[in-house]
C-alpha cells in the first residue's frame, strides 16, 4: 500500500490538472461584451451608450429606396427601431447591428444606404429608423436576437443592447420602401 500511494496521488493530481485545463474558459469569454437585455412591451434596452426600442418587425420579399431608385429582391427582415444616445452625443451611432438566428449571425444590410446606422443619435430624443437584414430563404422562423452597439465591432467588456425578435408568425410584405431615419418621431 505504501508503494502504491504515490502513484495514486500522482494520478489524481494529473487528472485534476486535466480537468482544470479542460474547464478553463478561453480569452473570448473574459473579453465578452456585457449583454443588456430589453424589457417591457415594446422591448427597450438601456445600456451605457444607447437606449433602443424595437417597434416593429416585418418580412419583405423586396425592399426599395424610392429616392435612390434602388430595390432588391430576397428574404428581407425589416426591423423598425427607436434609438437615442444615453450619455453623450459624441460618436453616438449604432455602428454595428447584428441579428442572430440559431447559429448564424447576420449584419444589418449596408445596401439600402439609409438605415438607422447612418443616423447620429441625440440624448433624450428618439430617432426612428429601420434595419434591413438580408436573410437566406430558410431563415424565417425561430427566435431572432437583435444586438446593437455604438462600436464598430463587438466591444471588449462594453455594453451591447439585446432585443428579442420572435420570427414565427411575422407578416410578410410584398415591398417595403425604406425611409430615412427621422428625429423626434415615435
Amino acid at each position: 500500500m505504501r508503494r502504491l500511494l504515490p502513484w495514486l496521488v500522482g494520478g489524481a493530481l494529473a487528472l485534476t490538472a486535466g480537468i482544470v485545463t479542460a474547464v478553463t474558459p478561453g480569452d473570448e469569454v473574459y473579453r465578452a461584451p456585457f449583454l443588456v437585455h430589453g424589457t417591457g412591451d415594446p422591448q427597450t434596452a438601456r445600456s451605457n451608450t444607447l437606449v433602443v426600442t424595437a417597434l416593429e418587425a416585418t418580412f419583405a420579399e423586396r425592399v426599395s429606396v424610392d429616392a435612390a431608385e434602388w430595390h432588391a429582391d430576397g428574404n428581407w427582415l425589416v426591423v423598425t427601431v427607436a434609438a437615442s444616445a444615453a450619455q453623450t452625443e459624441v460618436d453616438a451611432r449604432i455602428q454595428l447591428a447584428t441579428l442572430r438566428i440559431g447559429d448564424r449571425v447576420f449584419q444589418s444590410s449596408e445596401r439600402p444606404g439609409n438605415s438607422i446606422t447612418e443616423a447620429d443619435l441625440r440624448i433624450g430624443i428618439d430617432t426612428v429608423g429601420t434595419l434591413a437584414f438580408e436573410l437566406p430563404p430558410d431563415a424565417r422562423e425561430g427566435m431572432g436576437e437583435l444586438r446593437l452597439t455604438t462600436s464598430y465591432a463587438t466591444p471588449v467588456l462594453g455594453d451591447v443592447n439585446v432585443l428579442q425578435v420572435p420570427l414565427d408568425g411575422l407578416p410578410t410584405a410584398e415591398n417595403i420602401d425604406l425611409e430615412d431615419p427621422t428625429l423626434g418621431a415615435s
Binding site: A72, F106, Q107, S109, P112, T154
Partner: protein, 222 residues
C-alpha cells in the same frame, strides 16, 4: 606481419557469429520492428506520401463555380477598361483597369466583408498582400474597388448563405493582358484565430491552397 589466413579466418568467425545472432531469440524484437517499419514505408509510398506536393489549380471558365469550405465564387464576366465613371475609377497611362464580375457566397455562419473587415473577421479577399483573390498575370496588382452590380450602397458585406453579385477592380500593367485573357487565381481560405497579440475572438482568413484558376477571354465578349 599479418597472415592472410588469419584475416580470412577472423572474417569467417565474425560472419558466423553475426548470422547466429541474427536468428537468435534475442533478435526477435528487432525483426518485428524492422517489419513494422517496412510495412509503414510501403503504406506511405503507396499513399503518395513521398511524392512532391504540387497543387494543380482546377482550370475553370466563366460560369463555373469554385466551392470551398468557407466561400464559393463564380466568375460571370471580365473586362479591361480605362475608366469606371460611376465608381470614379480611372487608369493611368500604361495601366489598365481589370474588372471581374462574380457571384460570391459566404458559406460560414458569420458575415464577412469583401474589401473590409466585418465585426471581428478579416476575410482578406482583396486589398492585402497574399489575398485570396488575385490576378494570375499580375499577382501584385492593386485591387482598388469593389461594388455590387445592382448599384447598392455601402461597402460590400456578404451575409451567411446569401449569394451576391459583385465586381472587383484591379489596376494592372497594360501589357500583362495583351492576349485579352484574364485569369483569376482563387485560393482556399484557412481560418486562423488570434493568439498572444490578438485575442481568440479575432478571426483572420489566410491564404491556403490554390483552388482554381478561372480564365475569361475578354475578346469573346459581345
Amino acid at each position: 606481419m599479418i597472415r592472410v589466413a588469419d584475416v580470412a579466418g577472423g572474417m569467417r568467425n565474425a560472419i558466423a557469429h553475426a548470422s547466429r545472432a541474427a536468428i537468435s531469440r534475442r533478435a526477435i524484437p528487432a525483426w518485428v520492428a524492422a517489419a513494422a517499419l517496412t510495412v509503414l514505408l510501403v503504406v506511405v509510398i503507396a499513399s503518395g506520401g513521398l511524392e512532391t506536393d504540387e497543387v494543380a489549380p482546377t482550370p475553370l471558365g466563366a460560369g463555373e463555380e469554385v466551392r470551398m469550405p468557407l466561400y464559393s465564387i463564380t466568375v460571370l464576366d471580365a473586362q479591361l477598361t480605362d475608366e469606371v465613371e460611376d465608381q470614379s475609377l480611372s487608369a493611368d497611362s500604361g495601366e489598365t483597369l481589370v474588372l471581374v464580375s462574380m457571384r460570391m457566397e459566404n458559406l460560414t455562419d458569420r458575415p464577412i466583408g469583401v474589401g473590409r473587415s466585418a465585426d471581428q473577421i478579416a476575410s482578406r479577399l482583396i486589398h492585402v498582400d497574399e489575398s485570396l483573390l488575385s490576378l494570375s498575370a499580375a499577382p501584385s496588382a492593386d485591387s482598388n474597388g469593389v461594388w455590387r452590380n445592382d448599384g447598392s450602397a455601402g461597402s460590400v458585406i456578404l451575409q451567411p448563405d446569401v449569394p451576391s453579385e459583385v465586381t472587383i477592380a484591379w489596376t494592372a500593367p497594360e501589357d500583362a493582358f495583351a492576349d485579352g485573357l484574364i485569369s483569376l487565381d482563387v485560393y482556399d481560405a484557412v481560418e486562423t484565430r488570434g493568439r498572444i497579440l490578438l485575442s481568440a475572438d479575432q478571426i483572420s482568413w489566410q491564404r491556403g491552397d490554390l483552388a482554381a484558376r478561372i480564365t475569361v477571354d475578354t475578346e469573346e465578349r459581345e
